[in-house]
């Protein structure tokens, strides 16, 4: 018996559970990018797992978090070793617990990263004359951090400025063959500075009052804070 498929269609936990419940003896090979894991199930119990230099239960905990990749299952292949001693239900429960813990940690890190970015924007505001608002915006047009002293519709600003920076990016690339670094929009009432964060997945937008802002200061300060924002970006 052999079977192959994608992890987009079936989760690793379901693959293991299915063969264990049916008391099968199978060799499961799972490939994700350049990583290849092997899991041996003998008569409905996981008995051996290997991933690069790693062997045993830790391999199962690692691959339970894989949601992309392909699998290939071959029946009636006996394990060369026994490195897993827990029964399959305990293995999957422990794996689920670790995944929950990891997700909680990631969410907490993301939240604290964003709060830190809000704080950095607040500090930056103190150094910009005529400051009105600042946002860190993703290329999907959604703001991930913001600070405002004026009554502005920050959601609308994020969406509109993203359209503009995308078009300017294309204009620069297709006409001069260059790479856009920043853009300054000057209107009668405001300056709007937009600067990419490294990786160009997000950009910083700062709105300042035209009458009170100093253009050189605006360019200088946003440049300095760009690095701090980038360093505190949630990974």
């Amino acid at each position: 018996m052999s079977l192959q498929g994608s992890l987009k269609d079936i989760a690793v936990a379901d693959l293991i559970q299915h063969h264990c419940v049916d008391k099968k003896t199978v060799w499961v090979q799972i490939q994700r990018a350049d990583k290849r894991a092997e899991v041996f199930i003998r008569e409905g119990n996981v008995v051996h797992a290997v991933l690069d230099q790693l062997q045993g239960e830790e391999v199962i905990y690692e691959i339970l978090g894989w949601d992309e990749g392909t699998f290939y299952i071959e029946g009636d292949v006996l394990p060369p070793l026994t490195t897993v001693h827990r029964n399959w239900t305990a293995l999957l429960l422990e794996g689920a617990r670790r995944l929950d813990e990891q997700n909680l940690l990631t969410t907490h890190e993301e939240k604290s990263g964003m709060a830190k970015m809000d704080e950095i924007l607040k500090q930056m505001a103190q150094e910009i004359d005529g400051f009105e608002a600042a946002e860190v915006i993703g290329m999907d047009g959604l703001s991930i951090a913001q600070y405002s002293r004026a009554k502005l519709n920050l959601e609308l600003i994020a969406a509109q400025l993203t359209l503009l920076i995308k078009l300017l990016d294309t204009a620069v690339n297709k006409s001069t063959g260059g790479i856009l670094e920043d853009n300054l929009l000057t209107t009668q009432l405001h300056y709007v500075m937009m600067r990419y964060l490294p990786g160009k997945q997000h950009y910083l937008a700062v709105i300042a009052d035209h009458r009170n802002a100093n253009l050189g200061n605006l360019r200088l300060v946003t440049g300095v804070y760009l690095e701090r924002l980038s360093a505190s970006m949630p990974k």
Binding site: L156, L168, T176, G178, L180, T187, H210
Partner: protein, 123 residues
Amino acid sequence: MTKLEELLQTIRDELGADLVGSDIVGLDGFSVAGLSTDPGLNREAVSARFALAMKLALTVSEKLNLGELEDNLVTADNYITLCRSLGDGSYFWILTVKKDTTLGMVRLTMNDYAPRLWEAIPR
């Protein structure tokens, strides 16, 4: 040489080696007059693409109640491109300069010449 071309030539002389390209562009994205010191600069593409970007910048300024658009300054790794509305906004002046140009000077030059360029556009 038309009045418009004469003015663009004067601006070129003032900015010297810093100037890369200068075009007066209609809302349709076509240049009505221009010059370039860099044969590698695709003036047609610059005019068309930046006219499109300026139109969007006008819309964005209006939607966000930012006030009337004065200009847009794009810094890229190779050039700096300034776009400025002329007169009633039916034409733009697109000026491309080298990256190490003194920006303050370029903006002053634009302030100085924008009204004269607008007057020189044949109507």
